[in-house]
C-alpha cells in the first residue's frame, strides 16, 4: 500500500477519517494531523531501495523464513550443491549470534555475509542494505536471505526481496499455518521440509498443512522436500528457475521501456 493515493484507507479504517469520524475533529488550540502512513514507513522505504538494487542487477532475491532448526541452511547447502556451477549465488545470513551458518555456506565456495542481530528477533531492510554493500551484485544471479529463525517477527519486515519462502518442517506439526497466520500468509511458496521423517512422524499430514494454508486464503504452492534424500528438490529447483526467468523477463521490460521524466 502506498501513502499518496489513498489506497491505505481500508474498509476497516475508513470510518475514522470520514467527516464526523473520530479522526476528523480538531480540538481547540490543537493541531490535528492525519498521516495514514505505515508504521514501518522507514523500513519499507529502505526495502524498496534494496528491491531497486536487485532489479537493476537482475538478481533474484529470496527471503527464507521458518522456526529455528527447520532446515533453512541445509536447504541452501543442498541447493548450492546442485546449482553452483550453473548459477552465481550469495547468501545473507541472519542470526542472533555466531558465524556458524555463514561458515557452512562458505565451505561450499559461495560468498556469505553474516548479520548478527544481537537480541533482535528479525532482519530489517537497513541490515540487508548494509550487507548488500559487501556483495558484487553484478556477478550474481540469486541472493538468498536466510532470516532469523522465528515464525513471528520476520513476517512484519519487508527486506526488498522478490519472494518470501516459509519452511515448515515435519517435526513442528502440520497446524503451524493456523497458529502463525501472519507468517504463512506472507509466504509465496511453502516448503514442507524434512519429509524424510514422514514415515516415523506419521501424525504430520501434508494435506492438513495444505488445508490450513488454504484457510488463510493463500494460494501459495506447497512442495514436500527433503534436503537429506533430495525428495522434492526437482520441484524446488524448477520453481527457482521459473522465478529467475520471470525476473529476467521483467527486468528486460524495464530496461527496454522508454524513460519517463
Amino acid at each position: 500500500m502506498c501513502d499518496t493515493c489513498g489506497c491505505n484507507v481500508t474498509p476497516g479504517n475508513a470510518h475514522l477519517v470520514q467527516p464526523g469520524g473520530r479522526l476528523s475533529k480538531t480540538a481547540d488550540g490543537r493541531e490535528a494531523i492525519d498521516i495514514l502512513h505505515g508504521l514501518l514507513h522507514a523500513n519499507d522505504h529502505s526495502a524498496e531501495h534494496n528491491r531497486e538494487h536487485f532489479n537493476k542487477h537482475g538478481v533474484l532475491a529470496v527471503n527464507l523464513m521458518s522456526s529455528p532448526g527447520a532446515g533453512k541452511t541445509s536447504l541452501l547447502e543442498a541447493t548450492i550443491g546442485v546449482l553452483k556451477d550453473e548459477l552465481s549465488i550469495a547468501v545473507i545470513e541472519g542470526d542472533l549470534e555466531t558465524e556458524n551458518d555463514a561458515a557452512r555456506i562458505r565451505a561450499h565456495g559461495v560468498p556469505a555475509i553474516q548479520i548478527t542481530t544481537g537480541s533482535a528477533c528479525h532482519l530489517d531492510a537497513h541490515m540487508v542494505h548494509d550487507a548488500l554493500h559487501q556483495l558484487d551484485l553484478d556477478k550474481l544471479d540469486i541472493v538468498f536471505i536466510e532470516n532469523v529463525g522465528n515464525l513471528v517477527c520476520p513476517a512484519s519486515f519487508d527486506l526488498g526481496q522478490h519472494h518470501n519462502i516459509t519452511l515448515l518442517s515435519v517435526p513442528e506439526g502440520d497446524d503451524k499455518p493456523a497458529k502463525y497466520p501472519v507468517m504463512f500468509r506472507a509466504a509465496d511458496l511453502v516448503l514442507l521440509s524434512k519429509c524424510d521423517l514422514l514415515p516415523v512422524l506419521d501424525d504430520f499430514k501434508p494435506e492438513n498443512a495444505r488445508r490450513y494454508l488454504r484457510e488463510l486464503a493463500s494460494s501459495a504452492p506447497v512442495i514436500e522436500l527433503s534436503s537429506k534424500n533430495n525428495e522434492g528438490m526437482d520441484a524446488w529447483l524448477h520453481w527457482l528457475f521459473s522465478e529467475l526467468a520471470e525476473l529476467e523477463h521483467r527486468c528486460g521490460e524495464i530496461a527496454a521501456a522508454p524513460e519517463t521524466a
Binding site: 490543537r30 492525519d34 523500513n43 488463510l216
Partner: protein
C-alpha cells in the same frame, strides 16, 4: 518481541512530523492495527511507554484502534467478517478471498501543540484531500 522496533520506528516518524510542523509537543498518537499485522497492541503500548521517553512525544497518549478482519470473496463477491487464522468467505465458505481489512499497521493521526503562529499548514490540505478521496 519486535514491538519495540516497531515502536521506535513510530517515534522516529512522529518526531519527524513534529519537526516539520514546528510543534513543541505531541499530545496524542493514533494508530490503526489489524490482528494480521503481526503486532500485538498491548505489547506496543508497553514498548511505547519506554520508547517515548525524552523526546517531543514524551507526554503523548497512545490511542489504538483495533481494526476488524474482513475478506471479500472472489466467488460470491460478498464482504464478510473473518478470523485471523480462518479467512474463508462467511457467506459461501470459499477460500479464495482477498483481505480487505485486518493487516493494517498504520499511523492514522497525530495531535500536536504549537506555541507560535496560527498559519495554515499543509496538513490542513492533506486532510481535505484525504476526505475528498474517501468520499
Amino acid at each position: 518481541m519486535h514491538e519495540l522496533a516497531v515502536c521506535q520506528a513510530l517515534i522516529d516518524q512522529v518526531e519527524e512530523i513534529a519537526l516539520r510542523e514546528r510543534a513543541d509537543q505531541v499530545l496524542s498518537i493514533h494508530l490503526g492495527i489489524g490482528p494480521l499485522s503481526g503486532v500485538e497492541p498491548h505489547l506496543l503500548e508497553q514498548a511505547f511507554s519506554i520508547a517515548r521517553a525524552g523526546g517531543v512525544a514524551a507526554g503523548a497518549e497512545l490511542l489504538i484502534d483495533n481494526l476488524p478482519v474482513q475478506v471479500s470473496c472472489d466467488q460470491c463477491g460478498q464482504t464478510t467478517d473473518a478470523l485471523p487464522a480462518r479467512l474463508l468467505c462467511g457467506a459461501c465458505g470459499n477460500w479464495r478471498t482477498r483481505l480487505v481489512s485486518g493487516d493494517e499497521l498504520q499511523l492514522l493521526h497525530v495531535e500536536l501543540v504549537r506555541q507560535t503562529g496560527n498559519e495554515i499548514t499543509e496538513s490542513e490540505t492533506t486532510r481535505q484531500q484525504q476526505h475528498e478521496r474517501i468520499n
